[in-house]
Amino acid sequence: MSTGEDGDISGRYPLPRIGVPGGAAAEERELQEAALASLGRRPGRLPGLSCFEDMLRSPADALADGPVIGVFCNFFPEELIEAAGGVPVRLCTASVVAESVSEQVLPRDVCPIARASFGAVAGGLGVASKAQAVVVPTACDAKRRLGEMLLDYVPVVTLSIPPRKDHRSELSYWVPELERVARRLSRVTGTAVTRARLREAILHRRTVQDAFHDLENARRDHPHVLAGSDLALVVATSFAANWEAWGQATRRLAEQVRAAGPAHPQPDGFLPLVMTGAPILWPAWKLYHVIEDAGASVVTDTLCSVTQRLCDPVQVDDWSRSGMMRAHRRGVVS
């Protein structure tokens, strides 16, 4: 049994090593290709989507240099990892292969996202195998348990999320907690989170969000040109991507949406839908297929795995260190 340090959560009991079946990686690739092929068969897809598909096929190759730090949940500000010299990779997954691996340890009635994410990290599947540490925000009970259980496989940094986002006292808790996590990350990466590095990371991340907003604006005018499943695919690639390349590809896609919009008028009977609820994670695109096969389309959503991932920028009013930390409260503390 491993224990956390410096305010992190501790494990409760020792867990066994996890064995990964020999064909797991191949099975994972096969399922992914099947999902991509299914999307590819849809008529009128924009050519700009192909580079996102390539990013999904080999996410580890696209990553920038530096120690990879895995992240679970949208609540964690990935800018902190970049400021600490790390490469943030969001490890939330819905892979059935990872989920089956996790069943060596976890019971079946655990949250499927937590189970699959656990399997990916504990089994070292895909890009999760490169993670030198993982950050687990205590956003829900499953995530908290996930942090406890992963301690035996990888260094875990816990970020405690304030239980009430609209309580004034929470902000005085949130900033010191982020500072603590920044110190922990610095110990993992060997690079201190300085004010200048944090500022650079925030501005860097903003350029990515700017690109996403550009795509969202283009899509707002022409919602039928880019299907909801394709937008979700674009965001899924941002989980483990080189941000510069991702931003450029997204800008190109936005241009294609604008260019294609006037030439492709909205079809009769177009049914726009808003999707809310639990995150939909790659490659489990089943719900998108059901909706789009029925002639409807998800035009927007409130999912942490799609629009919510990049829509709220870190809006810094005061570029002091505490000011920047305080600005990382989007959606956590109002």
Binding site: K165, D166, R168, R195, L203, R206, T207, D210, H213, D214, D312, P313, Q315, D317, D318, W319, S320, R321, S322, G323, R326, A327, R329, R330, G331, V333, S334
Partner: protein, 328 residues
């Protein structure tokens, strides 16, 4: 815009007095037969003399009477009320000045504090200095800010009471030392003359009263500088001029409006509010958000990343709206 307003308010007398040639409104003076001692002792409570302003109006905002060369406006509302309570000026003489003030206040609310007040502009320069040095601000609790508002009443009410008392025959002899009591300690009385290369009286230890005002004005000036340097506009919660303006914020035709359905409570507006208010972020029902403490600086609208979530309207017409701004 604040710099332009500052130059106009401080040096407006130079720019406009000569072209106008005459007063639009006659200056308010002590009515004949009042108990006013108009000739103050030379060494009693002395300050840099204020020349004639361009307009004999009393606008919302700290337009100081003691601007060198005369400012754009006559003085602030606290000055006007104090002076005329001492002079026991009949209301019929005052009504037009009060009407002008009320019209200005209803038109723009506390935007006067946020955009025109020279003290606020000086304070924002200090705040800007702190930001340049990347020093974090000091945050204050809502209870502390509420306490400051009570403090503003605690300044305003005695100021007006003293002004009225020294206008009565029984206490008229105290006028030479207690005339315009808030002006004795107001930072504007000390700071505004400097911009005309004149110095106001910084030390007067002639007697107990002048010594009290001298020491108090130093303390207030220190608090003013510290408040703006470290606490953004926390001072404006204590300002009695801002307090009077705040009475007209609700109902003003300048409105801060929120589309509550577009807000996801990211908190960017609360973080950027120099008055430390968070009601803009928290509001889930009301559309108009004109709080008494809001100085309508519009930092919240500027910082809000949601398109059209926050708007500044004038007579219902949108003049500023929030939008996502790309970094570069």
């Amino acid at each position: 815009m604040q710099i332009i307003a500052f130059v106009l308010v401080i040096y407006g007398g130079f720019f406009f007095r000569a072209p106008l040639g005459k007063d639009i409104l006659p200056p308010l003076e002590a009515p004949e037969g009042s108990y006013s001692i108009t000739e103050l002792p030379e060494n009693a409570i002395a300050w840099a003399p204020g020349d004639e302003p361009a307009f004999d109006f009393y606008p919302p905002g700290a337009a100081c009477r003691f601007n060198p060369g005369g400012g754009l406006f006559k003085a602030c509302i606290v000055h006007m009320l104090s002076e005329n309570l001492t002079w026991q000026t009949p209301i019929r003489y005052l009504s037009i000045y009060i009407l002008v003030f009320v019209v200005f206040a209803f038109l723009f609310g506390r935007a006067w504090c946020g955009w025109v007040c020279p003290l606020g502009t000086m304070g924002d320069v200090l705040n800007g200095l702190r930001r340049r040095l990347h020093v974090d601000r000091v945050s204050f609790s809502p209870a502390f800010r509420g306490g400051l508002r009570i403090g503003a009443y605690s300044i305003l009410v005695p100021t007006l009471a003293i002004s009225w008392l020294i206008g009565t025959p029984r206490y008229a002899e105290f006028q030479c030392y207690w005339f315009l009591p808030y002006c004795q300690i107001c930072p504007a009385r000390i700071l505004c003359p400097f911009f005309g290369l004149r110095s106001s009286t910084l030390a007067d230890f002639t007697n107990g009263v002048t010594s009290f005002f001298t020491v108090t004005s130093w303390i207030v000036l220190g608090l003013f500088a510290a408040a703006f340097l470290l606490g953004r506009r926390i001072w404006c919660h204590l300002c009695p001029i801002g307090l009077v303006n705040s009475w007209f914020n609700r109902g003003s035709v300048t409105e801060l409006r929120k589309d509550t359905l577009k807000c996801n409570q990211c908190g960017a507006c609360a973080d950027s509010c120099p008055m430390g208010l968070d009601n803009v972020a928290r509001e889930k029902e009301n559309v108009v958000l004109n709080q008494p403490g809001c100085v309508m600086c519009m930092r919240c609208v500027e910082s809000c990343p949601r398109d059209d979530c926050l708007r500044l309207t004038f007579f219902g017409k949108t003049i500023l709206r929030s939008k996502y701004r790309e970094t570069r």
